[in-house]
Symmetry: C2
Subunit: 555 residues, 2 copies
């Protein structure tokens, strides 16, 4: 085996992009018929519809497999009725062990070739994955297409490229020739990149492919067998990805159990048993903080986590308050605040945000933000598509109870958003709450979902230091700062970076602080409590293999 | 500030060596007067002698410092009588915090320049450090010079070069220009390498600089303030290193508390309190397994450990048994087996090692190894210098009790080795014990010190799989395999590498499996229970900082 010319070229492009960090998106994000084929959209929708109510087609069923699955569409609030082959934890582990050596024996080029081929196969099912994502996560169609399709594939390729680079970074062999006075000692040395062991990737309910494929492809590229444990509410999108990879593995006469899907149900979860198995050495996890902390503390495991954070925006001065409000309203509405990068807290100086037309005080900003949100929600061509549906009924409950929070004034109440396509969609428009910086016991917790606090604070400096302390204590995955004063921007960059959170300055127009671009934005820094890993820095791949040296005298 | 031309050139050489892994030793290992100066040796000895019985000269004394120190020479068995300034843990932490920002603000070139300058200053004290090392660790003079002087400085430079490379590996700034149909979204992006926090480096009693400077310089180079906590039995060698660094920091008008020494005593240890402090984010540790496991399990810390392992040698077939025995006898004698890389277990097939002159069975091999050891021990020009002295009385005790081990036959008893220079030296020559592969409860534990087991086993294959299982269970830092059969060597390479231990094949002559060369041999792989870190792979530096992205629209 080796790598095809096409895949080699793509890998080189991707590696170059990694280090230059300029725009690079090999999988086009626009679901254009020109790019993806005239019938691709209809075919994808039909394939999704055809799968409903049936055992999933295309995954290897392990020995003694049963069929499980209890997914439910947030749009129709009816079960998908799809079941997936499930085995015991021991079976997954034994199958992974049996597959390990053949996969470890392949070199970096071989593995890259196979994994890139699998991404190209997944590309052919982007539209089907989009519908699968809509009906498991509640994402709007466009986000479901982009996040689960091209953006996820970009992230997977990024992990492949980084791992390939790290695997081949040191010389594979050297002649070490040490002068010892009259003679030399000469050794031939060579090195092996030894996979760490079984890699379990635990997925989340909101981004079932985007948050799973980086760990999955990083683990595979570095030679480890991977077991993907999807969230029981969002199996179908990643099942399609694993199925396509298994097809490629089979086509190369490799053991399909190099990558297994291990589905479970909310009633009968297997994650704890699976990740605690002694043969599991690597764990990728996306999800809640409490369970993530438990995973990070498991002895003898190397973990890559994305948990939760509290994302803040500090507003000091702006050129165009309307453009800012429009941008931020969109950030709050996008997938109803169910993104790990969605902003929750908006700090506004009590004296007001400086604008060319005067100061905008907290209450006024809250009104403007509410108006911006309402305009978007009520826009028949945008509202329901941007908002999508609510993945988890617990989120609905949280939103419905914000009026019970102490010390907050409800400026905009959440409401049901009627969806023209799905009458039964589980929806909730964003709520805007006004409060004060002293009320940290309320805004200083992650209130996942469409909930925004406008927080009155003495000044921008106080807002920045409160933001920094929230990040230190609870983590953050994104942060926004609006200031026309370069000194304040520099101060913010210094302070917020020092606690390990990225900062977006003065975003307006079609770019949002929620968005992290593959090959350019490291997603989660790994440097604050929101998670210990980052898509995709070198550590994300390096910790998955061991460099082992061998040496012998040269005769 | 910036980097001097000389230091820049050295850094480039070092970085190039890192990746080519060919021989590179910028600090010459031979204590030649031509290299180091005609009077350097005498001056170093005099400086060491002048320090005895006095408060240590050259370290910054923190607020409210007391003076502590209870070192004792294994050669004279008398106290060194040197005291060092010691503060409370809170004082170290507060001083480190106060120094952190100024150090973090420097760029990679600035820091490399300062740190390389400190190594050059330390170079001027290599001979003094050699005497300090002898009289704390018991190492022989030549090893004390090489390991604590040039080899340690090489390892420090290696860490500096790797960290500099990683800090500057991604573009520092990029213009990200995303086509959006009719318009583009254009962001300026830039990145900061943010230090993780305070880095504590916990030293060991046997290699007080060699095992400490990699973590110390890696932590510093990546911008973290460092607190060096030496082993209470071996403070002086690293105190000289920290003092020289503090001088360089002071000469650049930087806070000397960027690197502090935190000495303690066996009676009143501070390590647990120090490493558990919430401000300590990074911990380097060399020492026993039990305490190392406790350190690795501390929540919220990133750890770099070198604990202990059980190093094995498998002998299947050799070209020249006498050359092999001579090499292995030296490996066992060197510093009386007190190296983490020293071999303990020698597996010999019951049918014998294949040699051109017939089979050498386990008992005969044990006799030959004993004879080789005895010849070296009794060589007046080599014995006591190679063996050195025993650092810890507990090691003497362990050696004296080997006849109580079950199922072993004492082939060579340990004896006191008279040292021509130091009549009171604490010494013990190596003991050779013959046993069987079934007796794992005895040889399957680390018996630190000059203790060698010759283990009879059914065949080489069994020996290799037993070696692999010992590595999986207990770790190993070195491994030797002797075979003239390329298939067996390949099988051994595959098997032993798969459990994360390096392998040296067929070493004879002046190269020993104990020796790991800077810039070429990764020391400890990080892939087996002997430790989770490696000198110096990319992970050793990458985990010490966070890459944080910042972005703003291009106007």
């Amino acid at each position: 085996m080796s790598i095809s010319t096409t895949n080699q070229a793509l890998l080189q492009e991707a590696t170059s992009a990694l280090f230059s960090r300029q725009f690079y998106a090999p999988f086009p994000e626009h679901p254009s018929p020109k790019t993806y084929g005239e019938t691709a959209e209809a075919d994808g929708q039909a394939a999704y519809a055809a799968q409903l109510g049936k055992p999933f087609d295309g995954l290897n069923a392990g020995i003694g497999a049963s069929w499980v699955g209890h997914e439910l569409s947030p749009y129709t609030q009816t079960p998908l009725g799809i079941t997936y082959p499930a085995s015991s934890v021991d079976t997954y582990i034994n199958q992974a062990k049996a597959a390990a050596q053949s996969w470890a024996n392949l070199n970096a080029d071989d593995r890259a070739d196979i994994l890139i081929e699998s991404l190209m196969a997944v590309r052919g099912r982007f539209f089907e994955i989009a519908y699968a994502t809509m009906h498991t996560t509640g994402q709007g169609y466009m986000m479901a297409f982009q996040a689960s399709g091209p953006h996820a594939a970009d992230r997977a390729l990024e992990a492949i490229a980084m791992a390939h680079h790290e695997l081949t970074r040191f010389t594979a062999e050297a002649i070490w020739d040490k002068p010892m006075g009259k003679t030399n000692i000469t050794l031939r040395k060579w090195w092996k990149a030894v996979p760490k062991g079984i890699n379990v990737v635990v997925g989340c309910a909101t981004f079932p492919t985007w948050n799973t494929v980086p760990g999955m492809y990083a683990g595979l590229m570095t030679g480890n067998p991977v077991i993907v444990k999807p969230h029981p509410s969002a199996i179908l999108p990643i099942a399609i990805v694993v199925a396509e990879l298994q097809k490629v593995l089979a086509s190369r006469s490799l053991d399909v159990n190099i990558c297994q899907l291990a589905p479970d149900t909310l009633q009968d979860p297997i994650t704890k048993e699976l990740v605690q198995h002694p043969a599991v050495k690597l764990i990728d996890y996306t999800g809640g903080t409490q369970f993530g902390n438990w995973i990070e503390a498991l002895p003898g495991k190397i973990t890559f986590t994305e948990k939760a954070g509290i994302n803040s925006v500090v507003l000091e001065s702006v050129d165009d308050i309307d453009a800012v409000v429009q941008n931020l309203a969109f950030s709050v509405c996008l997938y109803s605040g169910q993104m790990c990068t969605a902003p929750q807290n908006f700090f506004v100086p009590a004296s007001g945000i400086k604008t060319p037309s005067g100061l905008v005080k907290p209450a006024e900003f809250a009104q403007k933000l509410s108006a911006g949100i309402t305009a978007l929600v009520e826009n028949p061509k945008a509202g329901s598509f941007v908002l999508g549906a609510i993945q988890n009924p617990a989120t609905l409950m949280r939103v419905s109870q914000v009026d019970q929070l102490t010390g907050v004034e409800v400026i905009l109440a959440s409401c049901v958003v009627s969806n023209p396509q799905f009458a039964e969609a589980r929806t909730a428009s964003p709520t805007v709450l006004l409060t004060d910086i002293d009320n940290e016991k309320v805004y200083g917790a992650e209130l996942f979902g469409p909930i925004a606090f406008v927080i009155s604070c003495p000044d921008a400096e106080t807002a920045l230091s409160k933001t920094a302390s929230l990040i230190e204590g609870h983590g953050a995955i994104s942060c926004g700062v609006y200031s026309t004063d370069v000194q304040i921007r520099n101060q913010a960059a210094e302070l917020i970076a020092s606690v390990g959170a990225p900062v977006s300055f003065n975003l307006t127009g079609g770019i949002y602080l929620n968005q992290h671009a593959s090959f350019s934005d490291f997603h989660v820094t790994g440097g604050n409590p929101a998670g210990n890993a980052s898509f995709t820095n070198p550590s994300f791949v390096l910790q998955r293999f061991t460099l082992v040296g061998l040496r012998e005298p040269v005769q």
